[in-house]
Symmetry: C2
Subunit: 110 residues, 2 copies
C-alpha cells in the first residue's frame, strides 16, 4: 500500500501494525470487521424501512445524527455495543440480530 494511503486511512482511525496488514487482516480482525459491517448494514435497512431519518433515529437512541452516520458506516470509532443497542432500540430481537450475523456478507437485511 502506498504510504500516502496508509496515512489517510490512519487519520480516519483505522490502525495497522504494518502496511502489509491492510489486505491481510488476521482472521479475528476480519471477522470483527465483517460482523460490524453486517450490523451496520442492517441498522440502515431497519431505519429506512421505518422511514426514519438519521436525525430521527438519533433521537430514538439518544445519540446524534453524526454518530448515527458513523454507525451506519461501520466507522472504527463505533463499538458493537452501540450498534447493537441501536438495533435493539429499533425493535430488533436477539434472534433477529443473530440472523443478521449469520447472513452471508452483502445480503440485504430482513
Amino acid at each position: 500500500m502506498r504510504e500516502s494511503k496508509r496515512k489517510r486511512l490512519e487519520s480516519k482511525g483505522w490502525r495497522f501494525g504494518t502496511a502489509a496488514e491492510f489486505l491481510h487482516l488476521s482472521p479475528e480482525e476480519a471477522a470483527y470487521v465483517e460482523l460490524k459491517a453486517k450490523l451496520a448494514n442492517n441498522l440502515r435497512a431497519r431505519r429506512e424501512r421505518k422511514r426514519l431519518t438519521q436525525q430521527g433515529l438519533a433521537r430514538l437512541v439518544k445519540s446524534s445524527q453524526s454518530r448515527v452516520a458513523k454507525m451506519e458506516a461501520g466507522d472504527p470509532s463505533v463499538t458493537l455495543d452501540l450498534l447493537i443497542r441501536a438495533l435493539l432500540a429499533l425493535g430488533a430481537s436477539n434472534r433477529e440480530i443473530a440472523k443478521t450475523i449469520s447472513l452471508s456478507h452483502g445480503a440485504s437485511a430482513s
Copy 2:
C-alpha cells in the same frame, strides 16, 4: 427495593433510574443483558473446553485474569465488544457467535 440494596448494587456498577426498574427492565435492556449473559457463558464454555485458565485466556487476548473473570461474569463494566473479541480470539466464527445468541437462555455452549 430497599434503599440499602439499591446502594449496594449501584456500587457494583448496575444503574437504575428508579428502584422500580430493577425487576422491570425495558425490553431493550433485558435483551441486552441476556445477550451479554449468553456470550459470557459461551466464553467460559469455550475456555474450559480448551482447558485454559483465565490467566491463559488473558494472555491470549492480551488482557488480564481479573478482566476475564469479569467477562465471564457478564459484569456491567464489560462491553459486548470485549466479549466478542475474546470469542473470536478463541476461534469462534461469526456464525457460531450468532448461534450462541439465538440459543435459548441457559443452554450450554457448543
